[in-house]
Amino acid sequence: MSSQQRVIIVGGGLAGLAAAVRVAEQGLPVDLFSMVPVKRSHSVCAQGGINACNEVARQQGYSEYQHFDETIYGGDYLADQPPVLEMANFAPKVIDLLARMGEPFNRTQEGFRDLRLFGGSLFKRTHFAGASTGQQLLYALDEQPRRYEAEGLVNKYEFWEFLWPILEGEGEGDDARAVGIVAQDMRTMQVRSFRSEAVVMATGGCGLVFGQSTNSVICTGGAASRCYQAGAWYANGEMIQVHPTAIPGADKCRLMSESARGEGGRVWVPRKQGDTRDPRQIAEAERWYFLEEKYPAYGNLVPRDIATREIFDVCVNQHMGVDGENQVYLDLTHKPREYLDRKLGAILEIYEKFAGDDPREMPMKIFPAVHYSMGGLWTTYKQGGYEPSSPHGDHKPGMLPPVDPEPGMGMRQGAIENSMTNINGLYAFGEVNFAYHGATRLGANALLSCIFDGLYCGMSVANYAREQQPSAQLPSETFERAVRQEEDKAKRLTESAGGAGGGSGAPDPETNPYQIAKEMGEEMTAACTVVKTEERLEQCLDTVGQLRERFSRVRLGDSAAWSNQALSFARSVGDMLILAESIAKTSLARRESRGSHYRLDYPERDDSQFLRTTISAYTPGDSDGHDVSYRDVDTGLVIPRARTYGKVESDPKAGAEKKETAATS
């Protein structure tokens, strides 16, 4: 059964594990690399749920097609439409499969899967397991590769760091193909190459580029940056999601799930500026529920970029933040304790633990934080032909297809192009690709896109790998050269150790990698997130340039040849700086506002110029370093319309009567 060809998967979160299961099922051996035991991947942090059309919603008029439409509208039309349609059609299968794997989805009294409301939809279409859905999904998926481990079909390399993709035919444009990777054991520091016929990057987002984000400490974007430097395109990098509700902290910002609003949480500030009373003493009429007033239909469940900008505006521009600081109330206290414990227990405990107040009794204080990267490695797909006579996805026989039955619907099952980067055989799955979420991701669509990529496009990887000439037949020079390159890089860094273990003298903040990373994060958060301007972005590029110069003189402070974390971190900082520069450059180039990308100097969406995917290509030889170009978006199914979510005006000084009507409508 086992084939000569094998597949390397980098990353053991939901996308990587789902891919491992699907590829191994095809009989191809998988080498799975992860910097952490896979069960500790960042997918554990996803809280709220996973979207899919379901029978209850369907009978209320919802459909897979509407899920697709919401995702496109939410993403402000920047996503290519066929893959998104395929994902929405596939979503119910993901839910069924995960339930079979043992995912403890919340249940109704009759034993059906319970549903909750989430941002960007007026229908309940989000499945959930308490408020730790991602953790539960990861655990359910984590168990499955174990049986293939026993059969020798899956080999896990945990605590191994991906360093570089090995390409054959490098520098010859389209002819390059991925034939393996260089990786390093983070304990022994051994650097070696691994051969394969296909490489799947499932390495997640790049939150650490922004310093304090909601991401795990492993989400540096380092792996994506290494692929970028090796020639893979980075697309829509400027599309960074800032989650409206997080708990600010000294080390990171902890997520307060959108499900808190989905289960009835209300966002407000006192109508009177500088009102420092205990929030429980402030009467209803004296509270400004600004989201509910401005968006009567969606209320607190407008998409994240909109909620974030509104909160930002209330705090930063209008100085209406709670206690004069950058924070607003997220209030669940009107809900019964038992209800909150059952539906949101896990996240309320997190809040209680870190903030010290019981959110069942006291409104939470929250503020936006960097959360997700819609942008990522550019990937392609093969459009599916749509035959009305052979039903597709979950469009049941007898149902009218929701759009004209013409070619160009969805993706073609198993086509080798699906989720492949511009480098042959190099795939990107999950958050590390740019494919599904356009300019803003809707809540509870991330888990879906990860698992969809793994299962659906995993088939494509297997089909591709099987067709390839075995990389074992390639000359070893290609592999040895790549290992040498990485060993030299590591050597340069460790020899620069300075300080203890390497030399003497006090550490210099100027060249300390942790300090450089901190300054990068602060600058990127200030210039490249909620509100961007040309002037500020130019300044940001200057700062990042200076940080890159400082990084060229970086001193590690640790020369150990064993478990040298400082080396791993410093190497990532260098790669993050390159990614940061690309993100700032593409932010500058997109002279419009769309989804999460808001330019104060270009506040309107400009479809005539920018309904296009940003492509950044790394060109280290140029003075510019990054070549920014654009590609058309496939908008063949839904025609772009204004993205307003029914906004109306609201003023904190408005009368209480008017407010009451708005809040309860």
Partner: protein, 281 residues
């Protein structure tokens, strides 16, 4: 272990939060070790902490400026961490003598006054890789011992899974929140350090694996492997090795009813072994 520190009780922690002095400097004492077989030694660092500081942010500050209280420049400390919101289990260590996650360990609760000391040590039941980073592979190995998975017919779409009542779901959900951090093992007198992987299969499997066996036995498809799980837990290193110290349940950060799981599996093993005796297999 160090004598001059203690673990604040819940009421002390509340009290400490209220009286915590802003802008104070605290002292972090870290038990360091360069690698397997190397001797351990203490290093202390004075850190001026910002509001909301936790152990992780203190370690991050030390990494940016690794100078000890004696003025000696040293290497940045090595520690394991991931999500920093107590759902991944990575950053578990022994703090003031008791095992817990370092991300949720707040300085306001543990070191509210100027000059207060906090001690950080690696877990002692797993081999140290370096400094505060330990190798918990055995913990995952033990999940394989008890076949902690649902045996499904592959990843293709074969329709909805079993229906499940909300009561059973809430039991399984609670058990499923286990993040494999190893606190229960660190606190367990029966679970001891074992460097030799060939001896793992005969050593005590630990509360977390027993509880996971219960989780999968409760699933409609997962229970198909129930007999095999109970066979494993009947043998050497199984549930009868539990000494009933009940330390596990006290340190579990997710309040998983570990002792209930041990009792439930204990009963199941008894029934299973009697049945086996009469079946003669």
């Amino acid at each position: 272990m160090v004598a001059d520190v203690h673990v604040p009780s819940e009421s002390e922690r509340h009290e400490n939060r209220r009286k915590a002095q802003p802008g104070r400097t605290i002292r972090a004492k870290i038990l360091r070790c360069d690698g397997p077989g190397q001797p351990s030694h203490w290093e202390s660092f004075d850190v001026k902490i910002p509001r909301g500081a936790n152990v992780i942010s203190v370690l991050q500050q030390i990494a940016r400026n690794p100078v000890t209280v004696e003025g000696k420049t040293t290497t940045p400390p090595v520690w394991d961490s991931g999500c920093l919101e107590e759902v991944c289990g990575a950053c578990t260590m022994v703090i003031n003598g008791q095992v817990r996650q370092s991300c949720s360990c707040l300085m306001d609760e543990y070191a509210p006054g100027e000059g207060d000391v906090i001690t950080l040590e690696p877990m002692s039941k797993f081999p140290v890789i370096r400094d505060l980073w330990v190798d918990r592979e055995r913990l995952f190995h033990n999940l394989k011992r008890v076949k902690a998975w649902v045996p499904i017919d592959g990843s293709y779409d074969l329709g909805a899974g079993p229906r499940e009542g909300p009561e059973l779901q809430s039991v399984r959900y609670k058990l499923s929140e286990c993040m494999s951090c190893g606190c229960c093992l660190e606190a367990c007198p029966q679970f001891t350090l074992e460097d030799d992987a060939s001896k793992w299969d005969d050593s005590f499997v630990g509360a977390h694996a027993i509880s996971q066996a219960r989780l999968f036995n409760e699933h409609d498809t997962g229970k198909r492997l129930k007999k095999e799980r109970l066979d494993e837990l009947m043998g050497q290193g199984g549930v009868s090795d539990c000494g009933n110290a009940q330390n596990c349940v006290k340190v579990c950060p997710k309040h998983i009813p570990l002792t209930e799981s041990i009792a439930a599996i204990g009963r199941a093993v008894t029934v299973h072994s009697i049945a086996k005796f009469f079946r003669g297999s």
